[in-house]
Amino acid sequence: MATHRTTQTHTSLIHLRRRFQRLSFILPALIFVVVMMAFPVAYNGWLSFHEWTGSARRAPEYVGIDNYTELFTQSDRFFPAVKRTFLFTGVVVTAELVFGIGIALLLRDAFPGHTVVKTLILLPMVATPVAISMAWLLMLEPTIGVFNKILRDIGLTPQPWLGSQSQALWVLMAVDIWQWTPMMAMITLAGLLSLPEDPYEAALVDGASSLQSFFHITLPLLVPTLLTAVLLRSIEALKTFDIIYTMTRGGPGFSTETLNTLAYVRAFEYFRLGQAAALLVVFFAIVLGVSVIFIQMRRSVSMRQAL
């Protein structure tokens, strides 16, 4: 009886020790996640119901849902920023996808210098975005920039580029497309190289043209990979900050202001922390919503393909 009890406590002790050992693997990471990530998100939610300028002498004042109603009914910068954020994301991700697939197809078969080309096209996305923005600022400068220099040399009208309310957002999109098309190309290329060979052999036997086999075999097989790539890129594109803030600061006027730069300006230039927090809650909800839609799409596609 006694021996039985001791073995029982012994095994449960071993069990407990093992549990503890396993937990100790995740504990440091878990503490970091709770303190550095979960807590700020919760604090941000709490702050969104308060008005505060960050002053140590005046405590945050509870204002209910005022910050949210202000956002949706009074602010004349919120909805334009939402529209611009979606326009920016939609245009750049679509362009990056199309160009990325094209480049991936060019890089599919090995040729002399294959690795060199693959390395060179990585540069736009690993180069420091702020440094790249500075290079684009110089190139786009209306009087000394290389683009207008070329336009003048071939007898065309120089453009204001970032100085124009109607052009600035599109110029920023072009920079983003330049920067991130290589990522789409890399992901698509990795997807292409993992495709099975059999469908192509069958298509070749059936006498399908290369265009036909691209649209009827390659593209459908690539859809799950492409959807994941579009998901990852869309999340990042919705949050684009570096190139916009460093090149235009949301201007001229507010013509390039997106949700991220608007939130930044409200928090760190106007110090309206409560309003910024409310905006961030909405911003987070938007990014989450877009992610969930893509994740669902990807799931239904892979389920259909599994059948």
Partner: protein
């Protein structure tokens, strides 16, 4: 004899082989033209992707007058680089960037590697989901509370604030790269080590980690690059003494007249380490950038 040999040559085959040769030549021609179209397209693509970087590098070797003048020619000078170090204190900012990137990467590995191993082996799936969600949350959502809390703790402008904030990006990324890799390792080796009496920690350190060197390389390189390139967190949380390179270069353009040569020299200096890493570690950078997209 000669007649006979001529008679035995397979005549009926001749027109066919000529036809085959012609179609072969046609296919060859088509392949050559396809090859040259591809070569031209690739050249155009490379020029487009490299042009801003090359332009930046060229401007870094020009004087302000040469940059502003409408002409194209210039005599290379190193004065911009000299000025960047002597006037703009760039060595200090480089040191800051390097310190923050190295320490935040090291700490993220210390937390992320065991975390990822536990998610893969002991099935703490919920932690994996939480860390995935962290990639979706806009960074600025963390930044506003952290700015307030760091101010209160008197930590704004310190290395501690910068390192912790950079870890918000790199720690989840490391887990994101490592979990699928650990899941793919054969479990048998680890099990036999456990039977031989190795502890859980011993198995992880002596067996799982050495097998994961390529993935750890990817995680480390990308984490370093992310921190080196980080702008928004550093813009808010760095001080005069702890300023990192991206913030320092951004401050260039707040002057009334921009020193373009100095600005481009600074841009070259920031970009150079990342470019060198990419050229020599191309394989790891590619797998880092495409992580999660293929297996996902």
């Amino acid at each position: 004899m000669t007649d006979l040999s001529q008679a035995t040559t397979p005549r009926p085959h001749r027109p066919l082989s000529r036809q085959a040769a012609m179609s072969k030549r046609r296919a060859q021609m088509r392949r050559i033209s396809a090859e040259s179209v591809r070569a031209v397209l690739l050249l155009v693509i490379i020029v487009i992707f490299l042009f801003p970087v090359i332009w930046m590098a060229l401007a870094a070797f020009q004087t302000q007058i040469e940059i502003i003048s409408p002409g194209w020619g210039f005599t290379p000078t190193l004065r911009n680089f000299d000025r960047v170090f002597s006037e703009y204190n760039f060595l200090r900012y480089m040191g800051n960037s390097f310190l923050v990137a190295a320490v935040s990467t090291a700490l993220s590995l210390l937390l992320g590697l065991p975390g990822a191993y536990a998610i893969a082996r002991f099935h703490y799936d919920w932690l994996g989901v939480v860390l995935l969600a962290a990639r979706i949350v806009p960074g600025i959502t963390f930044l506003v509370p952290w700015y307030i809390l760091f101010s209160r703790a008197g930590l704004n402008g310190t290395y501690i604030a910068l390192i912790l904030s950079h870890m918000i990006v790199s720690m989840p990324f490391i887990v994101w790269v490592m979990v699928p890799f650990f899941e793919g390792l054969p479990i048998e080796v680890e099990e036999s080590a456990r039977i031989d009496g190795a502890t859980m920690l011993g198995t992880f350190v002596r067996i799982a980690l050495p097998l994961s060197v390529p993935a750890i390389m990817t995680a480390t390189i990308m984490s370093f690059i992310f921190s080196w390139n980080n702008f928004m967190f550093s813009l808010v949380l760095s001080g005069d003494d702890t300023r990192t390179l991206p913030v320092a270069i951004f401050n260039f353009i707040t002057y009334a007249s921009i020193d373009w040569g100095g600005l481009m020299a600074a841009a070259v200096l920031i970009t150079l380490p990342v470019l060198v890493i990419t050229v020599f570690m191309q394989r790891y950078v590619v797998s880092g950038l495409t992580a999660g997209a293929i297996k996902g």
